[in-house]
Amino acid sequence: MNSGFALSWIDYSVMLIYFAFVLGIGWALKRYMKDANAFLEAGRSMPAWVAGLAFISTNLGALEVMGMTGSGVKYGMLTTHFYWVGAIPAMVFLALFMMPFYYGSKARSVPEYLKLRYDEKTRGLNAILFAVMTILASGISMYALAILMEKVLGWNFHLSLILSAAIVLAYTYLGGLSSAIYNEVLQFFIIVVGLLPIVILSLKDVGGWHGLQQSLAPIVSSKGFAPDTWTTTWKYTGAAKSNPLGVEWYGIFAGLGFVLSFGYWCTNFLIVQRAMSAKSTTAARNTPLIGAIPKMFIPFLIIVPGIVALVLMNTPGKGFSLPLNAAGQPIYDYTIIMLLRQYLPAGVLGLGITALLASFMSGMAGNVSAFNTVWTYDIYQSYIRPTTKDKASDDKHYLFVGRMATIFGVLVSIAAAYLASLFGNIMDFLQTIFSMINAPLFAVIFLGMFWKRATGHAAFTGLLAGFFIALLHHGLTFPEGANTMVKGGWIAHLHAYPVEMAQNFWTAIFACSTSAVVTIVLSFMTAQKKSDNELKGLVYSLTPKFNEEAVPWYSRSTTLAIIVLTLVSILTILFW
């Protein structure tokens, strides 16, 4: 549909070199994959900086990059709330307060932590939901990438889908979690280096930050907001109507800052697995903190170009427009690739496309490597074939199962990608379901870690109750102008939110609080079956305090946490 956007030999050379390195890393790690522990847990040997970069890289998938740039167009700098009040505090909390229990308990996964802390049914529920959702999520991001490549570059949909899946399969099959993690570090650097030219060129094009503010003023005013709404973060959050997110400051704080972000960053095994692969407790705690430093600057890489795109769209001479969907609405998710096309000549263009491919691969490899671990340990080893006395043959067997799960996971992802191509709404649908599962999970894990009285029956019921309240809230409310049941309001139209984002925030808040209340009340009504001794290392009050005195002050987690929080406060004030 967009003729004249052909890549040249130099662009393809860059891409091929990247593929060669990604596969080469998998190949080099192949000889270390002797047992399931090496394959699924990376032998708990990663230095903190490697795990830290992998930690944020796996989250920097294609949907994140495309979605955040699109949100830059729609919400401007308010999108940074996902980072500065969302991700960063949650990452600091995970590092300081939760990692000692995840790592110290010797659990191999988040579901396994739930089994140790609560009981089998809580683990089973979480493991199965997680396995299903992770694979579907990976299929959806695969679909998003292939459709993007088809629409913008004219590549064959099936070919780019199969090829990208085959590469991810090859390197995760060969080198397991280590290969996924090492490649995520490499991919992180490519994403930054590949997207940096559009940040610089697009800002230069509109006359720098100051020029951007000036050009935005008339555009934003015509939308009915104050002229500097798109370049500020908290200034217009006094009332929901005065900012494009449609949420007041306390909704942002509680919904995004607390429930959604803590639910995602502190309980999603995909993320936590990276920190669990670290070589020591200190390294595991430092992983999210080291990741937090580059993370807080990611908005400048992917949100700011989106804000510039809003100016370009409204300046006829620039010749910039977004492709339209069937309903005639601009497809905001394509902003990033249209910017690449706008500014980059052959050469760096290939690098930019490679950055998008790298972001897709880091996200998908993360999903696959989390899936095969949960499948092998929490489902297969728990319910299908428990460990035997023969450890050597067990090791071989579970390594084999892990490898097969990798292949299976990729195949189901491909199937999910085709499913997504049949039902356009499945993406929205699954993202909604995912947030309904995560928010109650945070309440249950949080109570488990900090309140020794919380019981298994209560946690299990709490998870279900939170999920059903989320469904109920979603069924009773809808965002204004919604034209499909997937967006909500499928039971009754009780309340209308100004935008979808506001509805998501409140769904999560209701789900998390319900889950917490149910878990607390039922814990008092049921008996704690686990003895204090069994809960040692799993609950805060029963675990010896982690002593950092042996660690030099500059690499202590508390020092890093103070640096991270100071930096993020400075950014918040600068862009208030």
């Binding site: 130099i10 050379s13 860059v14 070199i17 990247y18 390195f21 080469g24 890393i25 080099a28 790690l29 270390y32 090496a38 990376a42 032998g43 040997s45 990663m46 490697v50 280590s178 090492y182 570090v185 490499l186 650097f189 280096v193 940096l196 030219p197 060129l201 230069k204 094009d205 706008q342 500014y343 980059l344 000549p345 052959a346 050469g347 760096v348 690098l351």
Partner: protein
């Protein structure tokens, strides 16, 4: 687990750097090519930047290899 990721990162960016620097140098007079990038030779500049990144990574890898008793 046995590999130092700084080596592949260093190697890859050194190769990217050389490739784009040379390409940028030979296309420096091509005004049509650099029209979208506001007349800036982004290939040359990105190439040089990546070359520096690559070499620094390799130097760090060499340093940590030396300091580790084998």
């Amino acid at each position: 687990m046995g590999i130092d990721i700084k080596i592949p990162i260093g190697l890859m960016f050194t190769i990217f750097g050389l490739l784009l620097t040379v390409y940028g140098f030979f296309t420096r007079l091509d005004a049509t090519l650099y029209k979208p990038s506001l007349g800036i030779n982004v290939n040359l500049w990105s190439g040089l930047g990546m070359l520096v990144l690559g070499v620094v990574m390799l130097a760090l890898a060499l340093k940590s290899r030396k300091s580790k008793p084998s």
